[in-house]
Amino acid sequence: MKVTVTVNDSEHSAEVEPRLLLVHFLRETLSLTGTHIGCDTSHCGACTVLVDGVPVKSCTYLAVQADGRSIETVEGLLDGGQLSPIQAAFKQEHGLQCGFCTPGMMLAAKALLATNPDPSDEEIRWALSGNICRCTGYMNIVRAVQAAAKAAAESQPQEVPA
């Protein structure tokens, strides 16, 4: 059946089988291989993408369910050829070792910061608890999210006192 999906702000239509998982649609139909398949059993969160801004596991979501919806993948983070604040923070804080979980981590982090721009350590760990880092690099991942939050706050215009 036909699906039309907006992926990273550009619209794509394709004829797909209903059983096609969103992760395969992204990787194979659209050749966006930044979304990784980790466990393929809904445990690890490596395949996390944003559907209408909400982080979900794309290995546990059908492409046909995404019809008419807006998807953001790690490829969409790049901002005019520049690393986005979250990507820059992961680089700066060494928030990755092998890098396999990183796309999912960054998208889950982006969704967190969109609703909670100044999260505590505990809130970051809680929000990322569906994303597993097999290298166990969690300390630096949490630091990276903190750094991204700080960078975003500093780039905001200062409030003018009334």
């Binding site: 059993t41 996390t48 982080p55 979900v56 546990t60 979501y61 059908l62 369910q65 809680w126 569906g130």
Partner: protein, 295 residues
Amino acid sequence: MHPPRFDYVAPRDLGEALDRLAELGDEAKVLAGGQSLIPLLKLRFAAPALLVDVNRVPGLDTLGEQDGWLRVGALVRHRSAEQAALLRERYPTMAAAAPQVSDPLVRNLGTICGSLAHADPSGDWGAVMIALGAQLVASSRDGERSIAARDFFAGPFETALRPDELLVEAQVPAPATRRSGGAYLKLERKVGDFATAAVAVHLAFSNGHIGTAGIGLTAVGPTNLAATEAEAVLTDAEPSDELFREAAELAARAAQPSDDQRGPAAYKRNVVRVFTERGLRAAAAMAQGAEVHEA
């Protein structure tokens, strides 16, 4: 892993969804959050001819009070329950359970009613709905019927729902003028795991003594279980440490745990005892300290 082939429809109204279920019977499966169903399809434990995706059916995402009931529609996600101020204020057992269901990514999609209809004996919401005395509303082309949560679970992954029925709503009795409290205590090996064992507790006080008591158990039997003997000794009783210890012993006896990779049966039974006692103390403290809510 790819699911087996199936046809897919995403009806825009409830009648159309119920028509498809009536036509296909048990060859059709309802897709809501999909967080249990899609893994089952990928593992080829399920091979329906048709998926009826209800995510585009309007009116199924109600989460609010009406006529003395909290209505939880078929599309209310775990995440919505986790964030709802109404649940934190008036339904503490639900508010305690919601953030303990799986992980945040699953909670963004998975639904309360879907979890109930899936009827995994390790699912959290069945125990909560049993403890709260909920009614589950099944809809079909023939009309609606209401099934008590404690009569809903027939066996592992089996419910009282007919193949042509959709679980459209869970209805939880609203706390009346009585003081009430609740807790959901869950032991898991790691964040996001299924329960090793868990206990849902609900107490409603009336004139200083316990009016009604509900205790539901998770992952210690072929279905979520009601600890009915424990509930009976608590009902209309004066709260005391001794009473809570006795009820906890009875709840442990009601558990039917098995040995598995999450632990031996005797250990799980003891977890039920300890969690029931802790839950009752917490619920009683909450109820006796709470402001009286006028419904």
